[in-house]
């Protein structure tokens, strides 16, 4: 069954490439840089999530996005990142009792 689908998929892709009825606009990749940064950060966060624990990872992630990427004032970034990391952890892990990763050192 998957083979059938794969064949259909390739056929459709080929068809699409063949019939270029309009001149293709070059893809607008002006935001590629920030997208790549976001992907990188998300990837790092995912990697770190179970090793460093939820609170640390989310705190650092938010901090980097707010302070480094978006250049928001540092004190505000720290406050917001910390608040969200701790607050969401409390809400989800403690109140709702849905476990969130905690690193080996307890945080």
């Amino acid at each position: 069954m998957p083979r059938l689908l794969a064949v259909l998929l390739i056929a459709a892709a080929l068809l699409l490439m063949v019939q270029k009825s309009r001149p293709a606009r070059p893809m607008d990749l002006s935001d590629a840089r920030i997208t790549a940064v976001i992907v990188l950060l998300l990837g790092a966060a995912t990697f770190a999530l179970e090793r460093a624990g939820y609170r640390a990872t989310v705190f650092v992630f938010l901090l980097v996005v707010l302070a480094a990427v978006e250049r928001r004032p540092p004190w505000l970034s720290i406050l917001l990142s910390g608040g969200f990391a701790l607050g969401s952890f409390y809400l989800i892990n403690t109140v709702l009792r849905v476990p969130l990763p905690v690193s080996r050192w307890g945080w």
Partner: protein, 318 residues
Amino acid sequence: MRFALLLLAIFAAGSTAAQTTYPSRPVTIVVPFSPGTGIDILARTLGERFNARWGVPLVVENKPGASGNIGAESAMQAAADGYTLLMTATSFATNVALAKRLPYDPQKSFAPVALVATGTLALVVAPTSPARTIKEFVELVRTKPGVLNYASTGNGTVQHLTMELLKQALGIDLVHVPYKANAGAITDVAGGHVEAMITPVHTAGPLVKQNRLRMLAVLSAERSPVFPSVPTLKEAGFPDLEVEVWYAMLAPAGTPQPVVARLNSEVQEILDSNEVRDALAKQGLSPVGGSPERLAELLRTELARWPRVVAKAGIKAD
């Protein structure tokens, strides 16, 4: 430099403190199935009671996937300090029979804590089926080999393997129609689309009471108290096949003996309470308890039994 030493001292003090007064922080119990399943509800029931008795939360961590292997692997890798436990069921043994490689060693990776509960399986048929007793059923199937169907909760599940075991023991041939979940399977048997299935007694209970399903036999040593009119296989004159769905608590291998003993006695006391017995009974489960050795013994038997069934039936799973 001094700062580092200070940190080290605090760390050491902290970890020894944790050892001496167990439990001093939240305990996690890994449930390798999604929330809402029987095993999950059982774990949460235990969790509530632990919480009440210890003052420390017992948190259920659902890690479903690969018939329980993912959760098992995760629990195995956790520190063996009694703060991570694993809840498991019959599939623990059947997985061994099916998988080519397991990320853990079923005998060595875990220390048995307690056998929590067991459930009885029954053979049910569609209301449209002409068979009214297990004898009639066997005869019916023998006259139509390979024509009639049975449902199960999926390839390699306990229900599937038990039916295969039954087929081998009774010399009958039914075609396997797998489903993704119990709900779909039992609905289709009730609707007459599939002829029969093996299912836990309590799942079939409501439907049998409405005459939408017919229970032909129970696969236990004694009759079920909920359905006293249904014979056991042995009483009906067939080979004595006992298959039980069991639920147990394990800990990573190397968990200190005193911790295991403490957990075991807690489980025992929880299971002795009326409220829990009541709740379990309503789900069709019988509380068991017993020592860790009892669980170890069960594991040994189960781990020996299922590979034989699988090999004979030629079932494969990757």
